[in-house]
């Protein structure tokens, strides 16, 4: 094989593409991985604050795609507005364009471990999930222990909620409660079958199952809850992890490194001038990619690309790989309104009933804890959920989620915190700022001490419209990675599942071509690791 011919060229370094690239490289295929941006991660990147401001500029002037093979795309980011200037230590921020939390059990964690990429990054437990209800922040009783210790619930309510949690963590398929209700609205199911009262229904629906509206169907919601309940205890009490240094973008970099370690070639920050089908001129190579400032064309047998990179001239040869994940199909990504706000910490939330002040921190933290008020504590990471209609000026039909991260996630300088707010946006929503400003105000008012902190140091609002996924019936030459879920705890897992589907699909195509070199029996071949800690001296 020549220097410029590859089995697979992957376009875009989003999480899905990066995982697929790592798996293909590890399976022995020759991979080139390109991104027009000078940074890794694509629309899922983690950026420093100065990079984020550049990102805003390039997306507002719409020069992001300049003259390239992909100009036909409609604008992906609209209604962008920001306030606040570049803050000090701007390079110490690692701000995620795709905020997410990771269930401790699931495809992403399995892939991180299976590929060895887990060693490149750091992870923290999500400390708290809270729900905004009747004008205040309440902790969500997410485990049996939480329920047991909860002081807001009556004994009867505790028993009912306990019964539901037992049901949801077990084999609920085929149980009489569920029969015929699989697709009925989850919130009604909770009321009708478990007699839960309204505020408990709200907490379970939006903060335990992460439903976006009261109409979300029961079965997928139950599947999610079961997965989260099973996840808790694996790494600690919380079912969720947060990736340090900005989450998804950092994890994507890790998979890219894994791919490079196995021979993947990385070229970033160069415009792709043309993608063409060259299979007529000779049998093999079939596709070629021209990069600006690079003399030789790169050629390949198969292109794997993010929907952002579908070239207009080859749209009919592109097929979106479908992953069999029910979740992904359920909430096929619609537009999302997002807000990123930087503010002065700390983040203060009501105590979790499961962590009474005495047992909350380690011994060293004890002093700090006791100087705080009786009922509140500082946290470094939290999710705050706003159910529909929970605040004035907010959306009455869909829920908003807020991910809060402090300095402990290594994503912001000392003392600074980041709030990521997201809410599904409808076609009629034209201003991200109008949509999200009430949530930002309510968030800052309820998690920080009153005072100047309740005004963010920097805030950015925008609407994100995922690109359309092409479909084609002809034999695919271009495999397009599907859009991932936008649900906070589902997004990275769905990207991982999609990557695996893309991997197997790519394998099929490459093997039908009789390509030697690559083969795979599993997504991640076993790691031959040694326990380095046992090295003798």
């Amino acid at each position: 094989m020549s220097d410029t011919h590859f089995n697979v060229i992957v376009l875009g370094t989003g999480l899905t593409e990066s995982i697929a690239a790592a798996a293909l490289s590890k399976a022995g295929f020759k991979v080139a991985h390109l991104d027009q941006n000078p940074y890794y991660g694509g629309d899922e990147a983690s950026l420093t604050l100065d990079e984020l401001i550049q990102w805003v500029d390039s997306n507002t002037t719409n020069e992001a795609h300049g003259k390239s093979a992909f100009h036909a795309q409609t604008a992906k980011f609209t209604s962008i507005s920001h306030s606040g200037d570049l803050l000090p230590n701007s390079r110490q921020y690692s701000i995620s364009l795709w905020p997410s939390i990771i269930p401790s059990t699931g495809p992403l964690i399995s892939s991180l471990i299976g590929s060895g990429v887990s060693r490149y990054g750091g992870y923290k437990l999500l400390e708290r999930i809270a729900v905004f209800s009747s004008g205040q922040v309440r902790n969500v009783p997410g485990s049996k222990e939480d329920v047991f210790k909860n002081k807001d619930l009556s004994l009867l309510e505790k028993r009912r909620l306990m019964r539901f949690l037992m049901f949801a963590s077990g084999e609920f398929e085929g149980k009489p409660e569920l029969e015929g209700n699989e697709s009925s609205p989850f919130s009604e199911f909770l009321r009708a079958k478990f007699s839960l009262k309204d505020d408990v229904v709200e907490a379970v629906t939006y903060a335990l199952a992460f439903c976006t509206s009261s109409a979300d169907p029961t079965l997928p919601a139950l599947h999610r809850i079961r997965r989260y309940l099973v996840s808790s205890g694996r790494y600690g009490a919380s079912p969720f992890l947060i990736g340090q240094y900005g989450g998804a973008g950092e994890i994507a970099q890790g998979f890219c490194r894994a791919s490079a370690v196995h021979g993947g070639v990385y070229i970033l920050g160069r415009k792709i001038a043309a993608v063409s089908d060259s299979s007529d001129s000779s049998e093999n190579p079939r596709l070629s990619v021209e990069l600006e400032d690079l003399e030789d064309k790169l050629t390949c047998d198969l292109l794997v690309l993010s929907p952002n990179y579908v070239p207009s001239n080859l749209r009919s040869a592109a097929v979106t790989v479908s992953s069999d994940s029910e979740r992904v199909n359920d909430d096929s990504p619609a537009s999302v309104a997002r807000c990123i706000a930087i503010f002065d910490g700390p983040i203060i939330l009501p105590y979790s009933p499961a962590q009474p002040p005495a047992a909350a921190g380690e011994a060293t933290e004890g002093d700090a804890a006791s100087t705080e008020s009786e009922s509140h504590s500082k946290v470094d990471t939290a999710v705050l959920v706003f159910p529909p209609g929970s605040i004035e000026g907010g959306n009455a039909t869909v829920a908003a989620t807020v991910l809060l991260t402090g300095e402990g996630t290594m994503s912001s300088p000392t003392g600074k915190c980041i709030a990521y707010i997201s809410i599904p946006a409808l076609a009629s929503d034209t201003s991200a700022e109008t949509l999200l400003q009430p949530y930002l105000r309510a968030t800052l008012a309820s998690i920080t001490q009153p005072g100047p902190q309740s005004v963010p140091l920097f805030s950015l609002f925008y609407l994100h419209h995922p690109p359309a996924s092409p479909t084609s019936s002809s034999p695919p030459k271009l495999l397009v990675t599907p859009n991932a879920s936008n649900l906070l705890p589902e997004s990275m897992d769905s990207a991982t599942k999609n990557a695996e589907a893309v991997f197997w699909e790519a394998l099929k195509v490459l093997q039908s071509d009789g390509q030697e070199g690559g083969k795979a029996e599993s997504f991640w071949p076993p790691l031959e690791t040694q326990d380095e800690d046992e090295e003798g001296w």
Binding site: K124, R257, V265, G408, E535
Partner: protein, 256 residues
């Protein structure tokens, strides 16, 4: 978490060290020389791992280097920020027989000063010294031991064998004085090395070890940061999670 009393003597301090430099200057060879020379008896490096580890004893303290190779990502300037993240040391390598490689090294030093931790200890290493020395030094082990880890280096040195001329010194394109003066001015440690003969290689790592502010690393890793890159020590960190360790544990738990 309460490790203050035990001191640093028996606890090795983990130090992330990154390699930089133009393709084919011998980055991987230097590491392999360092890692395998010191540890003949040791197990082979981890297959498919993206970094090698090697302990370095220095008087009363032990450093555990976690050495990251570029994996070829330097070729199109596509090194991820993750690569520099938390690196406490860097070895920037150039080739004494190739003037342009020193220029490249200087630009990597700039990149480090921009991207990396401000306290990073940087060493500049002029490699392939054997090519410019009289033939006396041709004794050492030529090939580095088999280490599959270096599928790692897609840039594996092709042209090395080609340059065995008769008048070695004439091959030199970078005068020692010039490089040393630059290193001094930029505040870098400076060495000329031969990964082939082993000259100067271990010295790089021991001199870096002397300069690393270990107490500072220990202090900061006890707080929020994690030493090196890995979450491996993260278990001790507040709320930090080691994905692999706990995964193994839970696997064991099932096997009862």
């Amino acid at each position: 978490m309460a490790e203050s009393g035990s001191g640093t003597a028996d606890k090795s301090v983990q130090v992330k060290l990154v390699l930089l430099g133009e393709a084919a200057v011998g980055k991987s060879s230097i590491v392999l020389r360092f890692v395998s020379n010191e540890f003949q008896a040791n197990k082979e490096p981890t297959i498919g791992a993206a970094f090698l580890t090697q302990k370095c004893r220095l008087e009363d303290r032990v450093l555990r280097y976690e050495i990251w190779d570029t994996a070829g990502q330097e070729r199109f300037h596509s090194l991820a920020p993750m690569y520099y993240r938390n690196a406490q040391a860097a070895v920037v390598v150039y080739d004494v027989t190739k003037a342009s490689s020193l220029e490249k090294a200087k630009s990597w030093v700039k990149e480090l000063q921009r991207q990396a931790n401000p306290n990073i200890v940087i060493a500049l290493a002029g490699n392939k010294l054997d090519l410019v020395q009289p033939s006396a030094s041709s004794s050492g082990a030529t090939s580095t031991p088999e280490s599959e880890d270096e599928a790692d280096d897609a840039t594996a040195t092709p042209g090395e064998a080609a340059a065995a001329g008769d008048q070695p010194e004439s091959l030199r394109q970078v005068p020692r004085d010039e490089a040393e003066a630059y290193a001094k001015e930029a505040g870098l440690l400076f060495f000329e090395t031969s990964a082939k003969t082993g000259d100067g290689v271990v010295e790089i790592f021991t001199e870096i070890a002397k300069k690393i502010p270990i107490e500072h690393i220990l202090a900061s890793s006890r707080g929020t940061g994690r030493p090196g890159a890995a979450g491996r020590t993260g278990g001790a960190q507040e709320g930090g999670v080691n994905l692999e360790e706990n995964a193994a544990k839970s696997k064991d738990a099932c096997n009862c």
